[in-house]
């Protein structure tokens, strides 16, 4: 058997108290009596009743005020609060509801109605309690998940490359979203004459996206792929596509932009697969820089086993800048509202990148701050990665 319903009765009429107590006790309830608001509140804090019956007209603190005290106390606001009233006007009911009362009971009290309202109050109290518990459980699960995501994000950050200086000064920025996306990137000198840089974005969110992205990173960093392949972007993409036929298992795929720069010939070979174009900004001139979008028409990796991949090449002038990024930087901000570019789109993103690329471009953090300021977005809903290569003006 469930424990008896515990009811607190607050009424300054001790005759009515006695009568109601009797009715409720007959129903098997445990009845606590208080003759005014303050002692009722104290009693509720000590004995935790589930239902409160409170008279409206009382000296000192009236029923509305008592109700307000109950409902604004986090420890007591889950109790089912019934106001006893001889008032029947609409305005009174409105005032009662506004103070947080859950139900009303008209005086003189009809015993059958009293017990029915108490039973209904108990049912609501119990379902509120289970909802409350459910929401506590959910909240805890959510916090655990967020902690795990934060740890996974820390790991991704730990494997990402640090900025490098030299003929191609390269730096990068990674802003993991709360849900953690599947962004990853790398840049390094394969040998004295070949600089490799790439960025990828696995579809979906959470560990399901982060784990594949880390394993692709490891594959490219290990010597699993021979050097001849790493130097040919189209072959890298084709190899990755044969390794990562993930689409069949869990409908996952990834986009990638992969480039190899050769300083001796000032040539960049590149291939992209479903990834947003790389932005190539010409050397700074008094009239500003011009911009070119570098991409190849390939399908994302992991969608079709027999997909073929092509690459292109282009000359890089000294003093050029290259930006590589993931779509989180412009795609998820559509809702951000009006700003100086109107709707925030890919086009407004590229315009902003061009406008921030002075002769001596600012730190990536400043570029990101400018994006946030322009869009009014403080937190991105997807991972955001941004990489910049600055080609030295005077080659050695």
């Amino acid at each position: 058997m469930s424990p008896p319903t515990r009811i607190l009765l607050i009424d300054d009429d001790r005759i009515l108290q006695k009568v109601l107590q009797r009715v409720l006790k007959k129903e098997g309830a445990d009845v606590l009596l208080a003759s005014d608001g303050p002692s009722g509140l104290a009693m509720a804090r000590e004995h935790h009743p589930q239902v409160v019956l409170c008279d409206w007209n009382m000296d000192g603190m009236d029923g509305l005020e008592v109700c307000h005290h109950f409902k604004s106390d986090p420890e007591l606001n889950n109790l089912f609060f019934i106001l006893l009233t001889s008032r029947s006007g609409l305005e009174d009911r409105v005032a009662g509801l506004d103070s947080g009362a859950d139900d009303f009971l008209a005086k003189p009290v009809e015993p059958a109605e009293l017990t029915a309202r108490v039973r209904s109050g108990m049912r609501q109290y119990e379902s509120n309690q289970s909802l409350r518990q459910l929401s506590l459980d959910l909240d805890q699960q959510r916090r655990l998940l967020e902690e795990e995501m934060a740890r996974a994000a820390e790991y991704v950050i730990s494997i990402l490359p640090a900025s490098i200086d030299g003929p191609i000064a390269t730096d990068s920025l990674f802003l993991p979203s709360q849900k953690l996306g599947g962004d990853c990137y790398d840049f390094y000198w394969l040998d004295e004459d070949h600089f490799i840089f790439y960025m990828l974005d696995v579809s979906g969110h959470g560990l399901a996206a982060a784990l594949p992205s880390i394993s692709i990173y490891n594959l490219l960093r290990s010597s699993a792929l021979p050097k001849e392949i790493l130097l040919q972007p189209e072959k890298v993409l084709a190899s990755l596509n044969s390794f990562f036929q993930m689409g069949r298992q869990n409908e996952q795929y990834f986009t990638i932009w992969y480039g190899v720069y050769q300083p001796s010939s000032q040539t960049l070979r590149f291939a992209s697969a479903g990834h947003p174009p790389c932005l190539l900004l010409s050397p700074f001139a008094p009239s500003g820089r011009s911009m070119q979008e570098l991409k190849t028409n390939n399908l994302p990796i992991g969608l079709f086993e027999d997909a073929t991949y092509v690459e292109q090449s282009t000359q890089i002038q000294p003093g050029s800048l290259i930006y590589l990024y993931t779509d989180g930087i412009y795609e998820t901000m559509g809702q951000a509202g009006p700003h100086q570019f109107g709707e925030w789109t890919f086009k407004s993103f590229t315009e902003l990148m061009l406008s921030t690329a002075a002769s001596d471009p600012p730190a990536l953090e400043k570029v990101m701050a400018a994006i946030k300021q322009t869009t009014g977005v403080l937190h991105f809903s997807d991972d955001v990665s941004l990489m910049r290569l600055s080609f030295r003006t005077e080659p050695d």
Binding site: D13, R14, I15, L16, K18, V19, D59, P108
Partner: protein, 118 residues
């Protein structure tokens, strides 16, 4: 409305609430009521004589609720009239207070006899 100080229907409903040991409950309630009403009636007269409508409204309310519970519906109605008049900050006429007192006297006698019967 009937002329009896204690409404028979209200009284039988009260007895029904008491169940098997209704008598002892009723005895207890009558004792409490007589104890309280003596004090409250004196206060009503005092508040009226000293021209304290606010206090009078509270006292009349305090007598109204238990009177209604015990079935003294006419007395409860007198209380309500005094309470409402006083709440508007008008002191009710002397005659209204006297009517309340007379009715209270009848209720007291009736309840005392019921107490003895029980």
């Amino acid at each position: 409305m009937n002329q009896e100080p204690i409404d028979p229907q209200a009284w039988s409903e009260l007895l029904a609430l008491g169940g098997e040991d209704a008598d002892s409950m009723v005895d207890e309630l009558i004792d409490m009521y007589l104890e309280d009403s003596t004090v409250l009636l004196a206060a009503i007269r005092r508040d009226h004589q000293s021209n304290q409508p606010q206090s009078l409204a509270r006292t009349a309310h305090a007598l109204r609720s238990p009177s209604a519970t015990l079935g003294a519906l006419r007395l409860a109605e007198h209380c309500r009239r005094v309470e409402e008049a006083s709440t508007r900050e008008d002191l009710p006429p002397e005659a209204v207070i006297e009517e309340l007192m007379e009715e209270a006297h009848r209720v007291t006698i009736d309840l005392q006899s019921r107490r003895r019967q029980a």
